[in-house]
């Protein structure tokens, strides 16, 4: 698909052309929304809303930049809006989070030692505060490079790698807590 040609057709008033873009990207957008929200129903709603926002703001897309990251950023923002509205995200402040993860933990077990299965990792990712969940999904799910993430967020590459590092530390904590919770539940 010649993406820019399709976008140009949309901008020229051809609404049907946008349907081709939805068709092409719906799996990716739905997947991201599902990983962000953890709910199929919310993922479908928010993906729909993301495409609608993309349609209404298509004229703001820079044709020199790829369409996919632009669309995925809209989808991420829609997920964040929904999660904040529903209050389904950790309410720890940024300062508290930094304090939690700023102390190095040289003896902390690795993620491989803590993660029993893929679902445990997914649960732990869903439990991350939104800024950390976002960078983890951008890097490991969307496959964005540090440079692309830095361009999107306006942060430096150093800050992005710090976010990833801290997100991993938080994942370790969450996995440990999950293990403790499961162990208590089994008693």
């Amino acid at each position: 698909m010649d993406e820019q040609a399709v976008i140009d057709r949309c901008l020229g008033g051809d609404r049907e052309a946008f349907g081709a873009l939805v068709q092409h990207y719906q799996s990716l957008v739905l997947g991201l929304c599902y990983r962000m929200t953890g709910s199929r129903e919310d993922a479908a709603d928010v993906a729909q809303q993301a495409f609608l926002q993309a349609y209404r703001n298509l004229h703001t897309h820079d044709p020199t930049q790829p369409f996919r990251p632009w669309l995925m950023k809209i989808a991420t923002n829609e997920c964040i809006t929904l999660l904040r509205r529903k209050g389904r995200h950790p309410t720890v402040s940024d300062d508290e989070m930094v304090a939690q993860v700023a102390t190095p933990e040289p003896d902390a077990p690795s993620l491989m030692a803590l993660a029993d299965d893929r679902e445990a990792v997914r649960r732990a990712v869903r439990a991350l505060p939104l800024p950390y969940r976002t960078v983890i999904l951008q890097f490991y799910f969307e496959g964005l490079s540090y440079q692309q993430m830095a361009d999107q967020s306006g942060l430096s590459i150093g800050t992005i790698s710090t976010h990833i590092y801290r997100a991993k530390q938080l994942l370790r904590r969450t996995l440990i807590q999950q293990e403790v919770t499961l162990a208590h539940a089994a008693l």
Partner: protein
């Protein structure tokens, strides 16, 4: 070179280091077992996260079963908005309906053999074209208020002229 920073190793694996720094890290890694082990652990964690967050078969089946095209396109359809062209066209059609009714009730031969509604319908194509030019899409959706006003105007004239004829 001192031991590598953890963030530096993350950036190294992600290919985000500048050429000089990358060369320095590589030179250090060849002689430092601790940093090599740390790098291997980060790489294994990256692989674990990538694998765990990828969509599995059941999730793919669910995603493939969803069609967002139709609902998105339905929501993206232009909706009625009271824009200046809509207001102007509605006023013009109201005036046209009033004029047609006046001509009919005055007994003029111009449109006298047509009922008011018919007279108004004859005006619609002109406004239809005018509207198409102005609105550039979603014509039927945006035209309905003008059609409604014209129809009501015609009905009002029809009722009024019937009353006038009855009095006569």
């Amino acid at each position: 070179m001192r031991h590598c920073e953890i963030e530096q190793l993350h950036q190294y694996l992600a290919g985000a280091l500048a050429e000089t720094e990358r060369a320095e890290v590589e030179a250090h890694l060849t002689g430092c077992h601790a940093c090599s082990m740390a790098l291997a652990e980060i790489a294994a964690e990256d692989a674990l996260l990538t694998d765990s967050l990828a969509l599995d078969a059941a999730e793919r089946v669910w995603i493939e079963s969803i069609d967002l095209v139709e609902p998105v396109m339905a929501l993206a359809s232009p909706r009625f908005r009271l824009t200046p062209p809509v207001v102007l066209t509605s006023l013009l059609m109201l005036a046209g309906g009033y004029l047609a009714g006046s001509i009919w009730s005055a007994g003029s031969g111009l449109l006298g053999d047509l009922p008011d509604i018919g007279a108004i319908i004859t005006l619609i194509p002109q406004f239809f074209r005018f509207f198409a030019w102005l609105s550039g899409g979603g014509l039927l959706l945006t035209l309905w208020p003008a059609l409604l006003i014209a129809a009501l105007s015609g009905l009002w004239h029809l009722t009024r002229t019937k009353e006038t004829n009855a009095h006569a």
